[in-house]
């Protein structure tokens, strides 16, 4: 989607709806595929899947251009896709291949594409907040209207960097949006246990900035709230905390049996509450997309993901010369 379309309008046009639906499908199918392949033992390392939370990344990134920055988390695949990272390159990265977005050196937890404004998945909880501030400072110093979004989990909001960053964004009126993906858990600990606050967005009041709490599986709610936040940021009105209540379909990492969730909760989430299902219904009801269009997207995406997998498997592993390359620019 052209940059100007994204930037100039908060309207849910047909074109935007199609882009949104495609991105959501890409994320879902990408993650489902990774889940299956990981189970077969073909993917190395730790993998944290984003399936279930698509509406957040997509609803927010629908307002961003390549010049806008995002910071991400250990659960970063969804943010990458929504921000426009190449899917072949992402999959190959997760497979540890030389053709990966990071030449296989980063892996799932470190996929990045700075040229797309995607400043990296991050293995360190809480690391993304200050990084978003830096992108906001660049915008401020250079007097552009670029914004920065920090995606983070409910668990991460207990890390001190959350507050350090919000405060800096607030005092300097930086164009930063703090998007909380509150999936109710940080690993095996519930939000209710680990966080004293009722809502993560409640902190906005103390910092005298705007805070919103929305249903994070309602694409439209996220899209609209994010649109308002991005507009305020571009106008120089400072940061926003946007909390999106959502659900992760899989375990914390691949291999987690989720004994801390009940069966009922798990089943319910995968049915009527599902973000993609709900957006399909919305798009159909509002005549933004037809059943055929939806099906075509599904099929196109399937082909895309299949391609990414084949591409990855066919790709070579990085060779020895790469081991000590890229440690420094200069030598």
């Amino acid at each position: 989607m052209p940059a100007e379309t994204k930037k100039s309008s908060r309207m849910m046009t047909k074109e935007k709806a199609k882009w949104i639906y495609k991105k959501m499908q890409e994320i879902r199918q990408f993650e489902n595929a990774v889940h299956d392949i990981f189970a077969k033992g073909e993917i190395p390392g730790f993998v944290h899947l984003y399936a279930g939370e698509e509406a957040v990344a997509v609803g927010v990134c629908a307002h961003l251009t390549d010049q806008d920055s995002i910071t991400s988390t250990h659960r970063g695949h969804g943010h990458c896709i929504a921000k426009g990272c190449d899917i072949d390159g992402m999959m190959a990265e997760i497979f540890g291949r030389a053709t990966g977005l990071c030449k296989g050196k980063g892996g799932s937890m470190h996929i990045a594409d700075v040229s797309k404004g995607m400043l990296g998945a991050n293995g360190i909880v809480g690391a993304g907040f200050p990084l978003a501030i830096g992108a906001g400072m660049t915008a401020k110093v250079k007097k552009t209207d670029h914004v920065a979004v920090s995606f983070f989990g409910d668990g991460a909001s207990n890390h001190g960097t959350f507050h350090e960053a919000i405060n800096m964004a607030a005092i300097w009126k930086l164009p930063v949006i703090f998007v909380c993906e509150n999936n109710g858990f940080g690993e095996a600990s519930t939000f209710e246990y680990a966080s004293a606050c009722e809502h993560v967005s409640d902190f906005a009041k103390a910092y005298r900035i705007v805070g919103e709490n929305v249903d994070g599986r309602d694409l439209v709610a996220v899209f609209e709230a994010a649109g308002r936040a991005v507009e305020r940021a571009r106008r120089g009105e400072g940061p926003t905390i946007l909390e999106c209540v959502t659900y992760r379909n899989y375990g914390h990492f691949e291999g987690d049996t989720q004994t801390y969730k009940t069966k009922e909760v798990q089943e319910q989430a995968l049915k009527e509450d599902d973000a993609i299902l709900r957006f399909q219904n919305y798009a159909l009801e509002n005549q933004l997309l037809t059943k055929e269009e939806l099906n075509k997207v599904n099929d196109d995406v399937k082909a895309e993901i299949d391609h990414a997998i084949a591409f990855s498997k066919d790709s070579p592993f990085p060779d020895a010369s790469q081991l000590t390359k890229d440690v420094y620019v200069s030598y």
């Binding site: 190395p44 390392g45 730790f46 540890g96 291949r97 030389a98 990966g100 990071c102 296989g104 050196k105 980063g106 892996g107 799932s108 937890m109 470190h110 991050n122 293995g123 360190i124 909880v125 809480g126 668990g155 991460a156 207990n158 890390h159 001190g160 940080g186 690993e187 095996a188 600990s189 519930t190 209710e192 246990y193 680990a194 966080s195 004994t259 801390y260 009940t262 592993f317 990085p318 060779d319 020895a320 790469q322 081991l323 000590t324 440690v327």
Partner: protein, 344 residues
């Protein structure tokens, strides 16, 4: 009585014994139990740590002694420091040693310095358990071996156990030591099994162990690299060279004597350390032994370490990144001036 158990079970065993022995011993960390306040998990944990190492502690000791913390390393580590200073004997888990960036102050400027700054009028009986090591394809932020950073800091003690037996004994020493001790658990060793004494025993902090006797070469391995050293020694033996393999077991304090004694005998030293090569445990030991066994060294001390580079994700690169028996043999070949093995 001994029993075969895994490195991970040895840790679990040590913690359980310690918590039985002293009610001031408490566990603190992220999901060390898991599932706090989840209805069906009140009296049991969901995880027992990210690798299940502390499984069963909640069942046995209850949630008033097993604290699942928020993701706030500075917060809970600092809390552990002063809990120690005010009467508890906490075991605080830093899930991966790579996360020390979030709580170095609590370890370096508080735990390590309280006693000295306060003129000897405080004690900080804190144990930090943390996971290190590459070889798990966990990439640059979850694969580091950062024990050198801690060894640098006076006031801390640093243990790097390589076997289940050593782990249990060193961890129990750490827990009942009145100074702050950090114990490194190599994630790739969790499944490794070995004979472990049942019941309570300790291994003194500051006592190396000779894991293999030899006369032609000394190999010092740090943490899991003891095993790489032992493999290399086996292969050297096939060619008629007997390597002595030493496990320092703790880096601070460091048992200089055992190492120097060995080198005086063998005249040759290779240090195997998977950590970064600069200002490392490897250079540290090389400097110390190089000074004190100077007249006995036939050849320069060699270090087989990681390159000066972050840990790569891809399995193909991570394999090249780590020390290997081949690299040790290669170093030895250089020392003795002949190709003992054709490089594999």
């Amino acid at each position: 009585m001994t029993k075969k158990m895994s490195y991970s079970d040895a840790i679990n065993d040590a913690i359980r014994l310690a918590m039985h022995k002293d009610e001031n011993v408490v566990l603190i960390g992220e999901d060390v139990a898991g599932g706090a306040e989840v209805d069906h998990l009140q009296d049991k944990g969901a995880w027992g740590g990210v690798f299940g190492v502390t499984k069963g502690m909640v069942e046995e000791f209850g949630r008033n002694r097993v604290f699942d913390t928020p993701i706030a390393e500075a917060g809970y580590m600092g809390a552990a420091v002063s809990a120690a200073a005010t009467g508890l004997r906490p075991i605080s888990e830093l899930m991966f040693n790579d996360f020390i960036g979030s709580c170095l102050d609590e370890v370096m400027n508080q735990a390590a310095k309280f006693r000295y700054m306060f003129g000897g009028k405080a004690r900080v009986p804190l144990t930090i358990r943390t996971i290190d090591g590459a070889g798990f394809n966990a990439a640059a932020q979850h694969s580091q071996s950062l024990y050198a950073l801690f060894t640098h800091i006076p006031g801390l003690k640093v243990a790097v156990p390589s076997t289940p037996y050593d782990m249990k004994g060193l961890l129990l020493s750490a827990i009942f030591d009145d100074d702050p001790v950090i114990v490194f658990e190599d994630k790739t060793l969790y499944g490794k099994k070995g004979e472990v004494d049942e019941g309570f025993y300790t291994i003194p902090l500051g006592k190396a162990e000779i894991k293999r006797i030899g006369k032609d070469l000394t190999i010092i391995g740090i943490g899991k690299q003891v095993h790489t050293a032992l493999k290399a020694a086996d292969r050297l033996a096939e060619k008629g060279f007997e390597a002595e393999v030493i496990d320092p077991r703790t880096l601070s304090p460091l048992d200089e004597e055992t190492m120097i004694h060995s080198v005086k005998k063998t005249g040759r030293l290779i240090i195997v350390d998977e950590a970064y090569p600069r200002c490392s445990a490897a250079t540290d030991i090389a400097a110390i032994v190089g000074e004190k066994a100077f007249d006995y060294l036939d050849t320069p001390i060699k270090r087989v370490t990681a390159p000066h580079s972050p840990v790569p994700f891809s399995p193909s690169l991570e394999k090249l990144y780590l020390p290997s028996p081949e690299k040790i043999i290669e170093a030895f070949s250089e020392m003795v001036g002949e190709k003992v093995f054709t490089a594999v």
